[in-house]
């Protein structure tokens, strides 16, 4: 999925070392234990919950691209969609409806790209 990071644990490991913080320091920031972080980094445990992912994004000062990548990797680990997405769908009924329509009509990657480009032109 991503060439730079093997999985979410690897992403967390690289970000933590790049910032030069220890397991214990990061554990204090997130309000968890050092072994919990170690387990995640070694891919023995799922990514943490959404609130902790948000904390991580702020703590590591991630760009919006890295933030999205982190969420994707976190979702990947659980074989789920990125954890920042379900909340958005739930809050906006029309999104779920639009997704179903896209699915039923067999929307391709290009269709989606056209839609996103159009959205960017109008909103961006």
């Amino acid at each position: 999925m991503n060439e730079q990071y093997k999985n979410f644990g690897d992403f967390l490991h690289q970000k933590r070392l790049a910032k030069g913080v220890s397991y214990r320091e990061l554990a204090t920031v997130l309000g968890v234990s050092a072994p919990y972080i170690s387990d995640i980094e070694k891919d023995r445990r799922n990514a943490p919950t959404m609130d902790k992912l948000e904390k991580l994004a702020d703590y590591f000062m991630l760009s919006s691209e890295e933030r999205s990548l982190m969420f994707d990797l976190a979702g990947d680990k659980k074989s789920e969609v990125a954890p920042d997405i379900p909340g958005y769908i739930k809050e906006h009924d029309y999104v779920a409806s639009a997704l179903r329509t896209a699915r039923d009509l067999g929307a391709s990657e290009k269709d989606w790209q056209d839609f996103v480009d159009d959205l960017r032109r109008r909103k961006g």
């Binding site: 220890s22 397991y23 214990r24 050092a34």
Partner: protein
């Protein structure tokens, strides 16, 4: 960054032959490379950073026994045979670990044990620096024989080894001593400690108020236990070593 590789003698069995002086020298080279500030401004050594960022070792946390008897472990070759304890299931199980992994017992993460945690990290770094060749470190080989145990589990060492008869020590005991001396030397670099006490009329007598103050100072400055500070100050001849193990045990301030 190139990792500094100390050169030292070995005996016929590949066991390093190291004097205290050599260990102090090597440790200070590492300190100068990784955290040179400490040599000018007294401060705790970042032992976790040294292990992960400088030596490029992998740090992990597990229960190494059911009763906390093992404090740390260094894994020298890839293995899937590291035995760890699972308290939830009250059983032992195998864990996979790669060469260059240091595993610290979870019990050391309790806040009152931070000094022991830091010393154990220093001790395991010492094993990696001096002993990985003895223990057959080979990153490309899983294990030569099924019976090989490619890791070293370390218990707490009783400080009264100061009074042991070293003639009876085997190779493993000497390597434990070397790892302990390395931990002390990297957490409390010789030059820094000597600088602090240069203007004092040391050696202080073993149970004196001066010795007590020196221990308090070193313990607070370098984030080490009073016991580690005391032994280090004895080693550096800033405090006179107590005459016997009994006298050592009777020191009220440790």
């Amino acid at each position: 960054m190139t990792i500094y590789e100390p050169h030292f003698r070995r005996d016929k069995k590949n066991v390093p032959i190291l004097s205290k002086d050599e260990i102090n020298f090597f440790a200070e080279r590492y300190v100068a490379e990784f955290q040179p500030d400490i040599l000018c401004t007294p401060q705790p050594f970042d032992i976790e950073g040294f292990l992960e960022q400088y030596l490029k070792l992998t740090l992990d946390y597990q229960y190494l026994s059911h009763d906390g008897r093992y404090l740390g472990m260094t894994v020298f070759s890839n293995t899937d045979k590291v035995i760890v304890y699972q308290p939830e299931r009250e059983c032992a199980e195998y864990l996979r670990a790669n060469h260059g992994t240091v595993i610290i017992d979870n019990t050391l993460l309790e806040i009152p044990l931070e000094h022991r945690y830091r010393f154990t990290l220093g001790h395991e770094c010492g094993h990696w620096v001096f002993h990985r060749s003895f223990y057959g470190y080979d990153p490309y080989q899983l294990s030569l024989f099924d019976t090989d145990i490619p890791y070293l589990k370390c218990r707490e060492v009783n400080a009264c080894y100061l009074y042991d008869d070293i003639n009876g020590w085997d190779a493993e005991r000497w390597m434990e001593w070397q790892a302990d001396k390395f931990a002390a030397a990297i957490l409390m670099p010789r030059t820094c400690i000597k600088t602090i006490f240069n203007s004092f009329p040391f050696p202080f007598s073993s149970a004196s108020a001066d010795a007590y103050r020196a221990v308090e100072n070193v313990s607070a400055t370098y984030n080490v236990s009073k016991q580690a500070a005391y032994l280090r100050l004895c080693d550096l001849e800033i405090i006179r070593k107590p005459d016997s193990a009994l006298q050592y045990r009777q020191l009220s301030f440790l």
